[in-house]
Amino acid sequence: MVDANLAKGECTGTIKFTPPLYKQRYQFIKDLVNKYKPKKVADLGCADCSLLWMLKFCKCIEVLAGLDICENVMKEKMHRLSPLPGDYLQPSERTLTVTLYHGSVAQKDPCMLGFDLITCIELIEHLEATELEKFPEVVFGFMAPAMVVISTPNSEFNPLLPGVTLFRHPDHKFEWDQAQFQSWALDAAGCYDYTVEFTGLGAPPPGAEDVGFCTQISVFRRKYPNTGEPINLEKPTENSYRTIFKAVYPSLKDEKYLQNAVVSEVINTAQIITRRLLDSFNSVYKEHSNGLVEMKPDFQLPRYFMRHSKNPSLAEGEKLADDRNMETYVSGNAVYIPLIKIFSIPKVNKLCGTFENLSKLITGKVALSNDGSAVVISTEHEEKENE
């Protein structure tokens, strides 16, 4: 559990960390995530899900999981992990699933397998001796993620914190000094084939350098490569955790959202081209109509209009494809914009990948010419009755 209260206490005392230490711990994880780009991250002892909430913005993460023994504290703010309206309006390219489990770190559950990073921020000091005993086997042996981060208070620092008598928090079952923590970590690393590095947050004040960081952190990295599959098949497969929250974020990987995005982009592009075309046509028309010359609406647009287009991506696209196919033309009351031209727009191109995919996605959603090679934008103005 995260000692938000303690962090506050730390601020009001003679020793003040800015930003507060709990924030520094989260930032530490976030930096780590940004550096190693894990796809699957779990936070054990996630409490009110603050860290998970911060991590959901990291674009590399596709699976986020939280585990805590206290259901109520998780539920308190878990809805912050739900997708936001904006996520639906502009679905992200990545997929993201956030799940919260109610359970104990002393128990195994297959849902925790295959993670790239597992964090245990200020967790172990809340564990009873029996739980602590099982902890390494569960985390390193069973879950066996590529990386584990464990943080815990450094008891050597406690004398510098005002008001701290025994432990920093009444629920702490123990607080270790640097030697205790490091020997425990080295044991675990050695036993389960991990390397471990030690660091910390909250530097001691000048003159007390020996006490070490206020929060001690160990970063474990698995030595053996990821086999992709759970290693030990004899591991228990029954679920001991209970899912209490699950949110699947809308993503462009989901065809429903991809189609919406592509259709919107195609129509938007076609409309921009049409508008530009009509604008240039109107300016020509105006010149002519000053002399009251009637122009027939059905005409083949001079090609230079398109050449004058300022959009570099349009011009670029023009070079790429066969001239005839790329030609936007007007017929009757409609403008025909070749699909291949729209496909050459970088945004559309990126969304669809292939031309076939583009055709497939917009079929039935966008008005196309008879042969399906061009988007049709009607320029007919439906007039409404005026009062």
Binding site: N72, S82, L84, L89, V266, V366, E387
Partner: protein
């Protein structure tokens, strides 16, 4: 946005020299609490109650405190109360008009408010019964801790640790505890220990037992149902719930629609029911930055900032990174994302860095301006408004801009998606109720409290008889009240002036269609009794300027009417002409689009409608209905918020000047100071009475006022303030003048929907359907009337709430009279949706509002300048 736009923007610097940061992060509590929706106007935010299972958020606190405050329960010592309020969310006035009992003041409807005439018809409603065990009550307890704890989390944990509360339905906000089952004792004392070993005494005192119909209970039910909808993965935006995972995309207009629902629980005539209706949230696919960029390419660049502000200010945006909505109150062109703001810890950070750090968002345009939003003060005592700066790139527009609203094609496409016929509407509603009943989590929420969602309510309405239409010398009984234009053929209009001196302005190109129209007008005019002389015809170039020049030269005081045949549907052309003919040279005018005159086969019917409109504009009377009451004056009042000037409103007032109720006087007042509408009604009232006196040589014996534009929570103001003022204005006129007065509040937007069954499918109920049982409120003298035919979608019944009535008119007569009034909207030979007076008031209002907004706020048109222009 490009550099040039910005350069202009910079010039406007320093308008809002307020220091504001981005909205505070982390976003406190997400979706389900609902506390995070700040909305602009009347819709404030609900405080949420949370039961154990979803240990509450801070908002719950405020909600509870307010709830109890409003209902006169004391909630704890003032100290804890203060803390509660400081933290809490704001109260949304969900049922603001709750507790206004006007029926008891109207003696003759105390026992029965139902009418009797008409044919009974089975009506299916959008109401669902709420099943409660017999004798169900909500027990409200007050909880104190000794010693006291600030931490709500701790209070919750301490209370819930007691076995007495395990597994029971409960909602606790730290001070007030709701239980669905009674505790054994009036006062329960519990001893407990914190983890630190402190001994704590908890005292739980029963404050009240609340029956399901009590206001607190109703609000409580609403909160419970909000929770239920959240369990169904619906998102709350504003007051309603939407399903963003089933978006309807309208790509050609870059809009997304979220289907959803508006629900509420209320006490209806005989029981508590859930009303549910389909709602759609309109969202813009573009960010505000994209919107600005697009606007920049389209509009006059020299006026970009001005146009931009005009378009955006007042709109509600949704941010990308939290779940809040904000109203754009201003745009600050001088602050850019690279500027810094002070964080809560006192350090400065730039907006770019802040969003990068907090949300991993990289801003693409470092020169965009800032949207400014003023937050409602959470603390009552703090005077300084809280201001947030929002990055346009991270905001989405919700709702429609005025530009979008004016886009006929956009609105058409939108309506296609949002206008559901009764059958489809019913399907959506069934799906919602099925989901509530099937989803185990949702059901659990209800069941813990002993609640159950019952079946859809149907009731018996009445179709009141179609009114006879009185014409000159004859009358007709139309086949249907939905359209009697055919029935009127070859009948003479009631009172028609002749059109002797008039102008037609038309472009050279449209000379032919104009000639054709003129012929048709003269042909249809004959049978109507409308003599149309040959006009003076002006052929001009196809430009707004040419039209205006022609008008300038030829509109003289003798001209009765100007008709303009417009070449295209360009709004500015229409606007300029109307502005000129309303303000500069007040004269009735009729604009016609050339293209409407080219539709083959439609000419005669188009001409008929135009002729009728012209007759109205000349002050003629088209038809009448039988009014059994003599010396009855009918008044229509509508009030509209002025979109451009926040805080001011426009009041439209029309009053009949003859007993036949075919002639009207109208007036429109721009009210700048908030709610003092009653004062201006008094002025209007006096004017109307003196007009009546002039035309009838005596004061009216009866007066009925139809008051529209009453928003949520304003009913009290109407009842407590406006009605007395109106009454006093009568006695002030003459001490012994005591007309019989009725005041009816008209609401077109209400949550109630009615369907009628026909041939195995659901239809809109027939015109003239009156509902005055079940779906009405026990404390009001109210009824619903379906008075209009809709071809697409579901009809909106109009709600009539008689808030004052000393006329002694039987409810049946009141309903019939109201229905008669619906026949008198002259723009259309059919029943109007609301009583014509209200519509007329609206028209007057629109008309004048337009005039005001055309830049002549200082000199609003004198009401006398357009006496004959009763409608546009």
């Amino acid at each position: 946005m490009s550099g040039r736009a910005r350069a202009r923007g910079r010039g406007q610097a320093g308008r809002g020299a307020v220091r504001g940061g981005p909205p505070p992060a982390p976003a406190p509590a997400a979706l389900p609490t609902g506390k995070d929706y700040s909305r602009s106007d009347d819709s404030q935010v609900v405080g949420t109650f949370v039961s154990e299972e979803e240990a509450s958020t801070s908002s719950a606190h405020g909600g509870a405190a307010r709830l109890s405050q409003r209902c006169d329960f004391s909630a704890g010592e003032s100290k804890s109360q203060g803390a509660v309020l400081g933290k809490g969310g704001r109260t949304r006035y969900d049922f603001p008009d709750l507790g206004i009992n006007t029926r008891k003041t109207i003696a003759h409807v105390r026992d029965c408010k139902t009418g009797s005439s008409g044919i009974p018809v089975k009506v299916i409603t959008n109401l669902y019964s709420l099943l409660l065990p017999r004798e169900w009550q909500l027990y409200q307890y007050h909880v104190t801790f000794n010693p006291e704890f600030e931490s709500r989390r701790l209070r919750l944990a301490l209370l819930y640790s007691h076995a007495e509360f395990l597994g029971k339905a409960k909602a606790f906000d730290g001070v007030i505890l709701f239980l669905s089952q009674k505790l054994e004792n009036q006062v329960t004392e519990l001893l407990t220990e914190t983890k630190r070993g402190e001994r704590v005494k908890i005292t739980i005192t029963l404050k009240s037992k609340l029956p399901p119909s009590s206001p607190v209970c109703i609000q409580f039910f609403n909160i419970i149902f909000k929770k239920v909808l959240k369990k169904l993965s619906l998102y709350q935006v504003g007051q309603n719930f939407y399903s963003p995972s089933e978006p309807v995309v309208i790509p050609q207009h870059r809009l997304t629609l979220w289907p959803g629902f508006a629900i509420s629980i209320s006490q209806f005539e005989s029981r508590v029911m859930l009303s549910a209706d389909v709602s759609h949230k309109v969202l813009c696919n573009d960010t505000v930055l994209e919107f600005m960029t697009d606007l920049y390419t389209r509009c006059d660049r020299a006026r970009f900032t001005e146009t931009c502000e005009k378009e955006l200010i007042g709109l509600i945006v949704l941010t990308r990174y939290n779940n809040k909505t904000y109203r754009i109150d201003d745009i600050n062109w001088s602050v850019k994302p690279t500027d810094t703001f002070p964080k809560r810890d006192g350090t400065d950070i730039s907006y770019v860095d802040y969003y990068k750090q907090q949300y991993e968002v990289v801003l693409s345009d470092l020169n965009q301006p800032m949207l400014v939003s003023r937050l409602k003060n959470k603390q009552k005592d703090s005077i300084e408004p809280r201001i947030v700066h929002l990055i346009p790139e991270l905001c989405y527009l919700t709702g429609l801009t005025s530009r979008a609203r004016a886009d006929y094609r956009l609105m058409k496409d939108l309506v296609q998606e949002t206008r559901l016929n009764p059958e489809r509407r019913q399907q959506r509603l069934s799906r919602l109720t099925d989901n509530i009943q099937r989803n185990s989590e949702a059901r659990l929420v209800l069941e813990t409290w002993g609640l159950q969602l019952g079946c859809q309510i149907s009731l018996t309405g009445r179709i009141v008889p179609t009114e006879k239409i009185l014409m000159q010398g004859e009358m007709c009984l139309p086949m249907s009240a939905s359209d009697w234009s055919k029935d009127l053929r070859n009948m003479k209009m009631l009172g028609v002036p002749s059109l002797d001196t008039w102008l037609i302005v038309c472009s050279n190109r449209n000379a032919e269609v104009m000639k054709n129209l003129l012929n048709c007008l003269r042909r249809v005019g004959g049978p109507m009794g409308f003599r149309i002389e040959y006009p003076k015809i002006l052929h001009v170039q196809e430009s707004t300027l040419a039209f205006l020049r022609a008008l300038q030269q030829h509109v003289t005081p003798e001209v009765q009417l100007v008709m303009c045949v417009l070449p295209s549907n360009q709004k500015d052309c229409y606007d300029s002409i109307k502005k000129f003919l309303i303000l500069d040279r007040p004269v009735p005018s009729q604009c016609v689009l050339a293209c409407t005159l080219t539709k083959p086969g439609m000419m005669m019917s188009v001409a008929t409608k135009i002729a009728m409109q012209i007759i109205c504009k000349l002050g003629g009377e088209l038809w009448a209905v039988e009014i059994p009451l003599k010396s009855l004056m009918v008044i229509g009042v509508d009030v509209n918020k002025d979109a451009l000037n926040k805080g001011s409103s426009v009041v439209g007032f029309v009053a009949s000047t003859n007993s036949r109720i075919t002639r009207w006087s109208s007036r429109c007042i721009l009210q700048t100071t908030g709610n003092d509408i009653a004062d201006c009604l008094k002025v209007c009232m006096k004017g109307a009475l003196s007009k009546w006196l002039k035309h009838n040589q005596e004061l009216p014996a009866r007066i009925i006022v139809y008051r529209g534009g009453v928003g949520d929570g304003q009913l009290k103001m109407v009842v407590d303030y406006e009605v007395p003022q109106l009454l006093s204005s009568l006695t002030e006129l003459s001490t012994n003048y005591r007309p019989k007065v009725s005041v009816v509040v008209v609401r077109k937007k209400c949550i109630a929907r009615f369907f009628a069954e026909a041939d195995g499918s659901l239809r809109n109920p027939p015109i003239g359907t009156v509902v005055d049982t079940e779906a009405t409120r026990p404390e009001w003298y109210d009824f619903y009337l379906v008075s209009q035919l809709v071809h697409q979608g579901t009809v909106n019944p109009t709600h009539y709430n008689v808030v004052y009535d000393d006329s002694g008119l039987k409810p049946d007569h009141m309903q019939r009279l109201t229905y008669k009034m619906c026949h008198l909207y002259y723009n259309w030979p059919a029943c109007g949706s609301v009583v014509s007076q209200d519509l007329n008031a609206k028209s007057t209002l629109e008309y004048n509002k337009q005039a005001y907004h055309k830049g002549c706020l200082d000199s609003p048109p004198a009401p006398s300048s357009c006496p004959s222009l009763k409608r546009l």
